[in-house]
Symmetry: none
Subunit: 251 residues, 2 copies
């Protein structure tokens, strides 16, 4: 198998290394999962069905570039030889004395390391057997996904997806949320409350007399609690005016 | 389609609601993804190929119980009627003025709400089209997965997986705290919205004609966003009735 090494100069992301993947479909789905979260450096060790793999290409649709650019290796040790910090993903932690982290913690650490100029990789084992002890030993840290112990069977691409997701999750600058509207000023809410109160008063809403104080209090408290935006306030004014009409004004 | 509601007594987890899923395989894979992270309450609205679905059963292998126990509904509003806080997952945020959160933030919030005794659901739309604006309007908050904008195509089960993972990531199963004021059920809020809508319609509120659809959407979204309690709902019914009277009824 050809050995080519991805560009060594620039490592702004962890490299994903699939060890002995069995099904081409899983390689393709892993490439998709990577690219869904902006990762595009893929290495593959001893793919069972050789390389290139047409089933991988079909499944990767849209992320085929990652397969074209993937590097293929005979040995795991060769595939990680230029990396400086390697994580192993495995469901089973078999007495290896290595730190064990969640994807979240691991990908935050990966980010720190990469910011310091380290070259980081994440190893994934074959579909059924998982990563061998020998390969896991080559790594510095274990990633364990917190699955339901009664049903722990994640597939390869799902494991890649969760790690890629956590990588992306850790790094983006928080965006301002433009969809949330600013709250209305207290004074504007108060005008709204008073308008409603006057109308309701006029319609005999605060009744019977002995309960009217407490009803008024609840009514005002309700509106104050609603966290209305300016546009909400306008809509509520419109509702009030429309409902107070004696009949269809536009008929 | 049969309508049965999952056990109402105990909600230590968010309910997953798939709206109009197309492929049985995707329903099965979603059930697996849920159970991988310990979620097992599934509701399905108008599955394209009817129910039960053999392809879903085959794909779910190991998580078939979730399909057996799934509730099937004709309408999204019915599927969430007993829930008090609903998230919509959608890639496109189309001018709905609702809070937008990452899966991580949303599932942390879900945990807080459930600890307060609220009943939480997460809506997922059909595979290609995604959730309709109309269905998203029924929810209180949007979940947006921070995908690579150049390659945002997550499949249904992957979206479910990432949310289920974040739920589990957030910690132990929540304990209920009963001494907090509860939110109104979505079904009760819906009845309120419909009552207001009918009255406003009658009064010529949704006018001019060419703006009436957008006015209606904003009006409904406003009420869904208010996080009303049962007592708030009662007060709003009272306000509506009082304002709609032609004159002081008790004079």
């Amino acid at each position: 198998m050809a050995k080519t090494i991805n560009d060594l100069k620039n490592y702004p992301q962890p490299t994903i290394i699939l060890v002995e993947p069995q099904m081409g479909e899983n390689i393709g789905a892993s490439a998709r999962a990577m690219w869904n979260f902006g990762l595009d450096r893929l290495r593959i060790v001893r793919p069972r069905d050789g390389w290139p793999n047409q089933k991988a290409v079909v499944m990767a649709s849209g992320a085929g570039r990652l397969l074209d650019e993937a590097s293929i290796f005979d040995k795991t040790s060769e595939a990680i030889s230029d990396l400086t910090y390697v994580f192993s993903t495995t469901a089973r932690i078999r007495g290896l004395s290595k730190e064990v982290s969640s994807p979240e913690k691991a990908m935050k650490k990966a980010r720190n390391l990469i910011e310091k100029g380290e070259r980081v990789g994440v190893l994934f084992g074959p579909e059924r057997a998982g990563l061998s002890n020998k390969d896991a030993t080559l790594s510095q840290e274990i990633i364990s996904i917190p699955v339901n112990p009664k049903f722990p069977s994640l597939n390869l691409a799902q494991s890649v997806l969760l790690n890629a997701y956590e990588w992306r999750n850790g790094g983006e600058d928080p965006k301002k949320n433009k969809n949330v509207q600013k709250l209305a000023k207290s004074g504007d809410v108060n005008i709204l409350i008073n308008a409603y109160e006057a109308d309701l008063e006029n319609k005999g809403f605060f009744w019977p007399e002995e309960k009217s104080d407490s009803m008024r209090l609840h009514f005002k408290s309700l509106f104050s609690n609603l966290m209305l935006s300016d546009s909400d306030v306008r809509i509520f004014h419109g509702i009030r005016k429309a409902l107070s009409r004696d009949k269809r004004a536009r008929d």
